[in-house]
């Protein structure tokens, strides 16, 4: 309590002197192109709204590059106050006690107004510790959805307004599309790791790992090789052999979107944040939006999807006045206006209930834009569907891709690939645990 009081008093004292000298708050991020321009516009809005602080955004490349740059900078004692870290880096950031200032603590120290209950639980659950404390500030969260080609559906004699709901229908529709010659392949997917493995598990209420998917502590281990996941990977291999499914490559699946744009494949599963890009690239056809398919014989499916994207972490070791600025900036960022503006521009999810409410007009004007929001809020998240948190997860994502490629190449069957995924992934987790203890 005393620490909190002195913190606030210091912040007050500093804000008086800061009226003369603006405090610069560095923010490293990974938003390039259009998103980067929009981000700078948002920052400009904050800088213009007051004169004490100036947030300086710097683009540092891809998510892994940004995270690596921040870690290297921390080791050299030149870290920014705020860094954008993708969801996969959460475990690493969380375990780095002493390197980060948890957001709930920052807001309390700086006496900033902050109501954790205002955020969508499905979004912040991912970044909250087991005691319910928010560790980082959600900024851009997305979730995978299904995009489909309405013109191809029509040409194949399917109802263009009805996307497939189950994996059974995915197969049936795909076959119809291929037999009618409307398209060469049924579907493709971005992010095999995120969409067809992690989200697939949450959507079917299947555990990704032990101890609440890793939220319970560093002792947790992966358990992605359950019968439901094995069945799905096995089906994907079967469908790949039949030409119904086409693999678009590791990580984000660079080759998947072109297959959809060129009307080779009738459907694609990808991030809700790709919406603007999909519409812009689908020049010759109309795009429909649907929820991810599920197996109707799995109990509890569909549950809810989990998020991806990134949050803002605060690094320790900066002067106090920068933290006062960061807290003010987070207040601004969490406001319904800023969030609704960012979410409607980008296709990312609104992170607060207020922002979601404010977007209702936008959603009714843009049918399908709320698909992602509907998916994550479909049910109260369970232990299996609130997200995942494992150390070294950047490497585990790589292992998921590799094992999937072994499956696609026919050198392993689904059970074998998933077993070895769990074994190799757990070795990474053990290594991380050893590093952090």
């Amino acid at each position: 309590m005393k620490a909190m009081f002195t913190g606030t008093a210091m912040a007050l004292a500093l804000s008086v002197t800061a009226a003369h000298a603006q405090t610069e708050v560095q923010w490293w991020h990974a938003m390039g192109g259009e998103l980067g321009a929009k981000l700078e516009e948002i920052v400009q809005g904050f800088n213009d709204s007051q004169s004490d602080y100036k947030v300086v955004p710097s683009y540092k490349g891809t998510y892994p590059e940004t995270m690596t740059a921040a870690i290297a900078a921390f080791r050299a004692d030149e870290q920014p106050a705020i860094v954008q870290v993708f969801e996969v880096g959460t475990g690493t950031m969380m375990a780095a006690e002493g390197a980060i200032v948890p957001v709930y603590q920052l807001m309390a120290d700086q006496g900033a107004s902050f109501d954790p209950a205002a955020f969508l639980p499905q979004v912040v659950g991912y970044y909250t510790d087991t005691d319910g404390n928010m560790l980082s500030m959600p900024f851009n969260s997305s979730t995978p959805i299904l995009y489909y080609n309405k013109n191809v559906f029509e040409a194949a004699g399917l109802d263009p307004e009805t996307p497939p709901k189950t994996w059974g229908e995915m197969e049936e529709f795909s076959k119809k599309i291929m037999e009618s010659g409307a398209a060469d392949c049924g579907f493709t997917t971005g992010w095999v790791s995120w969409i067809q493995t992690e989200n697939f598990s949450a959507w079917h209420n299947q555990p990704i790992g032990t101890m609440e998917n890793g939220f319970g502590g560093l002792d947790a281990r992966l358990s992605l090789n359950g019968p439901v996941q094995v069945k799905h990977w096995g089906n994907l291999k079967k469908w790949a052999d039949e030409g119904i499914f086409k693999y678009g490559g590791p990580v984000g699946g660079d080759n998947a979107p072109p297959m959809f744009y060129s009307q080779d494949c009738a459907m694609i599963m990808n991030s809700s944040a790709s919406r603007a890009g999909v519409i812009a690239n689908a020049t010759d056809f109309e795009v429909g939006f649907g929820q991810l398919p599920y197996y109707d014989d799995v109990e509890g499916a569909p549950q809810n999807t989990i998020i991806g994207g990134a949050t803002l972490w605060v690094l320790s070791g900066r002067p106090d006045e920068e933290y006062a600025g960061a807290a003010k900036f987070f207040e601004y960022m969490a406001s319904a206006d800023v969030q609704a503006d960012w979410a409607s521009f980008s296709g990312y999810l609104p992170i607060t209930q207020a922002a979601a409410d404010q977007m209702s007009g936008y959603f009714s004007e843009n049918p399908g834009a709320d698909t992602g929001l509907n998916e994550i809020t479909l049910n109260e998240p369970t232990e299996n569907s609130k997200g995942l948190r494992f150390g070294n997860y950047v490497q585990i994502r790589g292992i998921i891709d590799e094992e999937f490629e072994q499956l696609m190449a026919g050198s392993k069957d689904a059970q074998g690939a998933l077993d070895s995924l769990v074994e190799r992934g757990n070795a990474q987790i053990e290594e991380f645990q050893a590093q952090s203890q």
Binding site: E97, P258, M259, V394, E403, A434
Partner: protein
């Protein structure tokens, strides 16, 4: 023979100092850091650090991925070296036989060398992209389904072609220079003695080219093992399923992306060891076969 003896003790050290300083700052110091790092286990932020002795090395020896990477590197380096040197030698011989327009061909053939590895990688990535590339489209006409995203062999072929293509220019220049420094009278004499073109090449030209060939062999192996990083990164990123994950790429991935500095350090040290062994072999045994 007359010897001059310099009595000054300080001057030679002073003259050597800049070079020694550079060697120390850019080679010895980082190498020592890598050796030290390889004995540590450290979290990403460098907050907790434990001395673990040889554990990072033992884990590597135990790791199927690392053994795979060793095999991949050997296959890759040998393929790139053979392909780039073989093609360059053929082109050099072709150009050497011409009297006119040699310059034009030389200039044209040297162009790819000016292309940065990352750009070369992207270029080949586009040409061979299974979805939008021209080559898979042409190959499908011949009934071959090119897909380096899921086919390991295709992926290896792609990175070998992309890496060799860039190096051909460099090898070509040296081969042309080497060929042109061989006195024509030697070959003419052999021709008069009745030796055919193939016999002339293998008994006269190639032995006289051996210093050049040896030099290029060293340069090309070093190139394939270290400089092809950008090509791998921009075409396959070591995939599919680690089929093109050469040692140098694995060092980068485990260290910079995976933040496992201990393992990455140990891998660098092993790589350093491999280079030392290769250098010794080359200069001890291969060089003896070279006639200067």
């Amino acid at each position: 023979m007359k010897r001059t003896i310099f009595r000054n003790q300080l001057l030679p050290w002073l003259l050597l100092a800049p070079q020694l300083a550079i060697t120390f700052i850019f080679f010895i110091w980082p190498a020592a850091q890598a050796v030290w790092q390889s004995f540590l286990r450290e979290d990403a932020f460098g907050i907790k650090s434990t001395f673990v002795g040889m554990e990072n090395y033992l884990r590597l020896i135990d790791s199927a991925e690392y053994m795979n990477s060793l095999k991949v590197t050997a296959l890759f380096s040998v393929s790139v070296t053979i392909m780039s040197m073989g093609t360059a030698l053929l082109l050099a011989i072709a150009v050497d036989r011409m009297i006119k327009s040699t310059r034009i061909y030389t200039t044209l053939l040297v162009w790819p060398y000016a292309v940065a590895p990352a750009v070369a990688g992207i270029l080949w990535w586009f040409i061979f992209n299974p979805t939008i590339g021209i080559m898979p489209y042409i190959l499908s006409g011949f009934g071959y389904d090119w897909n380096h995203i899921s086919d390991k062999g295709d992926a290896m072929l792609l990175v070998v072609i992309a890496s060799a293509w860039k190096q051909i220019s460099y090898n070509f220049l040296f081969f042309v220079a080497g060929l042109q420094s061989i006195p024509p009278s030697l070959r003419e004499a052999a021709a008069i003695d009745g030796a055919g073109p193939v016999k002339r090449f293998f008994t006269i030209t190639f032995p006289l080219l051996s210093p050049t060939t040896f030099f290029l062999l060293v340069v090309n192996i070093v190139y394939a093992m270290f400089d092809t990083f950008a090509v791998i990164d921009s075409t396959t990123e070591g995939g599919p399923a680690q089929a093109t994950n050469i040692l140098v790429y694995k060092v980068y991935f485990d260290g910079f992306v995976g933040q496992n500095l201990g393992s990455s350090g140990a891998q660098s040290v092993i790589l350093m060891g491999i280079v030392i062994i290769l250098t010794v072999i080359q200069f001890r045994w291969v060089e003896k076969k070279v006639e200067y």
